[in-house]
Amino acid sequence: MTELTHLTIAEARDGLKAKSFSATELAQAHLAAMEKARALNAYVLETPEQALAMAKASDERIARGEAGALEGIPLGIKDLFCTEGVTTTAGSKILGNFNPPYESTVTRNLWNDGAVMLGKLNLDEFAMGSSNETSAFGPVVSPWRRQGSNVSAGASGAIEGTHLVPGGSSGGSAAAVAAHLCLGATATDTGGSIRQPAAFTGTVGIKPTYGRVSRWGTVAFASSLDQAGPIARTVRDAAIMLRSMSGPDAKDTTCVDLPVPDFEAAVSRGVKGLKIGIPKEYRVDGMSPEIEKLWHQGAEWLRAAGAEIVEVSLPHTKYALPAYYIVAPAEASSNLARYDGVRYGLRVPGKDIVDMYEKTRAAGFGREVKRRVMIGTYVLSAGYYDAYYVRAQKLRTLIKRDFEQVYAQGIHAILTPATPSSAFGIGEKGSGDPVEMYLNDIFTVTVNMAGLPGIAVPAGLDSQGLPLGLQLIGRAFDEETLFAAGQAIEDAAGRIKLPQAWWA
């Protein structure tokens, strides 16, 4: 039998139903794997007691024939989702020992369907980053290594050598899924934070349409862009998880009142008759020939599966990233104003209240967060608002219009690379110029700006033996087509062989 930690969610669900193993055994297998993988730093908090209690409750429900859609499935939770009674940090020091007295809607939905929480996953501070290097709790080590790399588990249990990043901001989520430390994980995506780490780790990640998933109880970064989604090991698993995470929520006015389709059923729909657009503007200067080749290969796979491939144009693509670096920091500066040392988290005393605010925020926020809050403050300040913020919001209208025009031509989904390169090493990017790191999101950020759904699916390995992903962008509220087309890519590419547990 396959090791319990190596099952897919679909396989584990079937195994639990057939009583081949119990939810408790499944949780125990994962807790043991997590313990041996602490050097990866994927979890910031392990919750073995909750996990075993929830698994026991799942076993009881299974015995009574009352199993939910995710009954007994052990998941990792990005530490951006508030979990009642379990410390939630957002990867920041400023939240201190914040212990939420409420549960986020996403996690509530998962528990209602019977899922089991293994722990809270590392992330870039407030989800601001593309490498997990901005976390106040240290970087996450990718389970992937370049061919011939010297990275290894040292005698002291620490990792030796220059390891790779898992991407970010959902770096802990992607690393934990790839390293078999959970069957699936929750993640969030503001500019690419689900899809880029999924691409870097050979996993599947979907950012649903803005409004599909409730944002209530999820620590806010940029409210008009943030959307939660799953990272999993197969397209089917991502579909299973997203169905449970989604749904209307009276507590979030931006969460739509639309019924949640059976995403899993869409997985086997096939792509016959679909029109897939290839946007010429995504052929950027300096793109690696391997990525270009893979992109072409992806189009050929979809064509062979019965789709029609059409060249399309999204003329404002190049402006999405600069417009994002106005809109996202502006919203962040506003959202993060709440961390003032009064209601929760860290407080550093000062000579008066303003001094207390300033000292608290100086001590509690990391460099990247401070920089973004300051950029956001600047672009919203008197005299600069129209030149920066209003102009960026106009660009956003144009970016969305580009997509609408393409979809009006009968295109069902758009195929692009997920990232401009495979994973890079820790400390390799963005130390001098933050823009170097930001360019990671060049292919994913357009999707957030337009509020559309996007999925990253592993499609192959580069010459260093590292995974590369393709992205499919869909019409608003048509995640189903992304699951159908994503499955066609997974079928053609074959499932990526994930790394052996060299760290254990």
């Binding site: 201190g96 914040f98 212990n99 007295p101 349409t209 409004g211 008009s224 862009l225 009276a250 006015t253 931006t254 739509v256 404002h316 402006y319 600069p322 417009a323 670096y325 106005i326 003032d340 040392g341 009064v342 209601r343 929760y344 988290g345 860290l346 005393p349 000062g350 008066d352 209240i353 303003v354 001094d355 207390m356 605010y357 300033e358 925020r361 100086a362 926020f365 401070k370 920089r371 300051m374 950029i375 956001g376 403050t377 600047y378 300040s381 600069y384 030149a387 920066y388 209003v390 960026a392 919001q393 106009k394 660009l395 956003r396 209208t397 144009l398 969305k400 110029d433 933050p434 700006m449």
Partner: protein
């Protein structure tokens, strides 16, 4: 556009973040790198384009204006660094 050191200090104060003398030049360099990156937005003719206000066209959900939650002040203040009788404590604001 680029910012000078004085502007960096002004932004930091507006953002309520204390900055040290050593941090200012680094922040200035990084902020200017970002401002120079976003400058390309000036190339686009945006005349007559409406700024986006809602990414998904939808009617705002409404509900009756009534109390639906609350009545647990101890939960509200449970994470606060300083409290007294279900109130948040802050340094003196009014003399």
């Amino acid at each position: 556009m680029s910012v000078d050191e004085k502007t960096v200090r002004r932004i930091a104060h507006l953002a309520r973040i204390a900055v040290t003398d050593e941090e200012v030049p680094h922040l200035q360099g990084e902020i200017n790198a970002i401002l120079s990156f976003v400058e390309q937005l000036g190339e686009v003719n945006v005349d007559g384009v409406e700024p986006m206000t809602s990414v998904t066209p939808m009617v705002m959900k409404k509900r009756q204006d009534g109390v639906t939650d609350g009545g647990y002040p101890e939960k509200i203040v449970q994470n606060a660094p300083a409290t007294e009788d279900s109130f948040f404590l802050v340094p003196k604001v009014v003399e």
